[in-house]
Chain length 179, copies 2
Amino acid sequence: MRTARAAFAEKGFAAASMDELTAAAGLTRGALYHNFGDKKGLLHAVIEQIDAEMAVRLAAVGARATDPWRGLLDEYRAYIEMALEPEIQRILLLDGPAFLGDPSLWPSQNACLAETTRRIRDLVADGAIPPVDAEAAARLLNGASLHAALWVAASGEPEATLAKALDAFGRLAEGLARP
Amino acid sequence: MRTARAAFAEKGFAAASMDELTAAAGLTRGALYHNFGDKKGLLHAVIEQIDAEMAVRLAAVGARATDPWRGLLDEYRAYIEMALEPEIQRILLLDGPAFLGDPSLWPSQNACLAETTRRIRDLVADGAIPPVDAEAAARLLNGASLHAALWVAASGEPEATLAKALDAFGRLAEGLARP
DNA sequence: CAATTCACATACGTACCGTATGCGGAAATG
DNA sequence: CATTTCCGCATACGGTACGTATGTGAATTG
């Protein structure tokens, strides 16, 4: 799986050869089909691993904040920055939905999305922000964050672009906080 | 290209066979490689066509509105609804970025994104909304819209989910309108 | 009317996925 | 302790699909 993560991140899922991949890991395709069923099975296992790691990192960021609303913004800032990592962007955010379909249909529900959904639900329950469907808000904010990261990653001036993206994201998020 | 659009929308770019595709069009792969260079070239041509059509539709929606700010919201509502069409969702929004990379790097710049960027820029210039980087705002709103559409499309109850998504989207967009 | 170009077809090599089968060692069984 | 089962993985094979190199007939040009 380490080898797969590296190969998928560098070449993309479609261009990654299972022969090369398994050979690099000191195995053959036989081992792969025995353990993961097929190529998509390996992708799914890798995504599940990455997703779980992201959820842990996000929860840690959110837990550090004293103000819950500020905690949510910190989480999304962290999400955007994580989405800049090639491994996460390529595997989880681009190839995942393209080859496995919408994350909500994955056998292992998106842990990372669940984390932000839960946080928004808590904010609404505590009256910190006006009522809103937590999953809808989380999905839209995740989508906005992802595209911000794609934009920054493709940009020639990552720092300046990231600043613009974070500013615009803050403005959007404010829309949730006001009645 | 008509055949390609149908095949890409139904089976996805990766699973679409060029043999079947060209045969269905009454041609062979020779014609394809002569006109489009390679498989990705065909995808690019198809995406360019769809993107242009979307930009026209979006501009028409925006032009109908009297209030510019309302016009922008109408455009995004239309964008979300267009993103529900399987052809657009699958080809332009899922396979496009996965196989061709970020839209901003496509030779034919994303006309649809350019349309919403221009509209936001006008709103800022007219003082209708506080200053914000127009491209950043357009990208984030596009991302939010796309994920809203993916969510609705994967949902078991499309109408109810769409209502939630549109509500949450309106809340986010309001964040741009307030100081 | 000869020559060139153009659009497309045909044929071939290569790469890769998925499956069916084989094998060696570990574990279980008595 | 001997034997059998089982498990993890390797090997071999078939089928499919992409990209390229080459051929061909019609249209165009001078």
